[in-house]
Subunit: 255 residues, 2 copies
């Protein structure tokens, strides 16, 4: 009899009970990161529910970031080894000249490698033009890149720089040399001095989830960093999208 085999428990829905039970097993260590969770069929028979109800429990945990699914293999407990990234230290001037890529100082075991597109010239998107205080006719240098860990994309970044500042400079090259963009801006007499990072978190669009190789149920961090030189002129806006499950952001400041 459809719709009746749940004998009106007056309790939580069955799929939530099953999900909570699995969650508890993970919390108390009975189910460890990387291990396979019970299959749909196993849950179906163990709890006397239909396949869809068993599946519903697994999917809801996946959408909460607890499990990940691999087609044909099973549901597995997700593990987290986030990359710790300190914005202050990362931008500290000492590192710029050292030939260190900005991001490689953040990852300890597995280096994060950038894959950069060819820089292009373009009109600034409306939002970027506004934060850069540019006229809508001003052109910018656009540098797009993807950062990989173990060959997997974990972050995308798009930098916008005023074209009149960086035209015919190494900033227009794919490889900007030791110290990266910021060192080149310093060479040009516009060393970045003041920074603002604006951080949002939300669920990714399907496109974004595809670009970053993200599991369902994991949010993104959307960070927009604005860099100004000593005179207050905005010399770069960097629009970053991060797989939130792979990062811990750290900010230091005084009084």
């Amino acid at each position: 009899m459809p719709g009746e085999s749940t004998p009106n428990d007056r309790e939580r829905p069955a799929f939530q009970r099953i999900a909570a039970e699995l969650r508890a097993k993970i919390l108390d260590g009975a189910l460890r990161p990387g291990e396979r969770a019970p299959s749909e069929m196993e849950l179906k028979e163990h709890h006397n529910v239909s396949k869809m109800t068993a599946r519903n429990a697994l999917v809801s945990l996946r959408d909460q970031g607890v499990l990940e699914s691999r087609h044909g293999k099973g549901f597995f407990v997700r593990s987290f080894e986030p990359i710790r990234r300190n914005a202050t230290r990362r931008l500290s001037k000492e590192l710029w000249g050292g030939g260190q890529s900005m991001w490689s100082v953040d990852v300890h075991d597995r280096p994060m490698e950038p894959v950069a597109d060819e820089p292009i010239e373009a009109l600034a998107p409306a939002g970027i033009a506004r934060t850069m205080r540019l006229a809508s006719t001003d052109r910018v240098c656009v540098r797009s890149r993807v950062y990989l860990v173990d060959g997997v994309p974990v972050m995308t970044a798009v930098s916008y720089l005023p074209l009149d500042l960086v035209a015919n400079s190494p900033v227009m090259q794919v490889d900007t040399g030791p110290g990266g963009i910021y060192a080149r801006l310093a060479d040009l007499g516009h060393e970045p001095k003041r920074f603002r990072e604006e951080l949002r978190s939300r669920m990714p669009t399907p496109e974004e989830a595809g670009q970053l190789a993200m599991g369902a149920g994991t949010p993104v961090m959307h960070i927009v960093r604005t860099a100004a030189d000593a005179t207050g002129r905005i010399v770069e806006v960097n629009d970053m999208l991060l797989d939130a499950s792979r990062f811990v952001m750290e900010y230091d400041f005084t009084d």
Copy 2:
């Protein structure tokens, strides 16, 4: 005939097509924030699919934070009016003496009101004790509070302070007076000078989603702020959980 009415489109699953179509309508403004999306029945008949498939499309959009559902009423397009919170400005000393609650400077139209529990004495949780560099037998003052906007909880915060520092001080009172905890710590000769905020983003547990009145498909920001006095002694650890859909975090720093 079950499983056959999708005539092997060789394309995306039906529920994904329907979801993408709705998403597009929202993006191009045909469906505006706050408006009701088509109901399950409407989608079912319009696309010639079963109710579960139509529902699947709506639920997947809800779990991506695009829609919210109201039982008995429908699915509605979510709108965002995030609270902008600048950690640097918020903590700037000038504000402490002014009788300004720390958070009220962040909200413009609708004030964010804290609801504080009675402070208690307790053993520090393991993780907190470690970051506070306390022995496992040291006791701490625990201050829990919930912040409301329009009566809706949007953030929880739990502060831990070394008990030997704040025992028999106004910090142990519910109302700490003008300037809040930090002003009282200054009175005690331990003015917070250096801060670190550590920010993660993830999906909430069901319990967390209940405490904050969160819609499905919205992540939380988990922020742990550590405050040290001039000598480097850690005088507070503040463990915050925020409904990510309601906040934009802002961090300023120089070179």
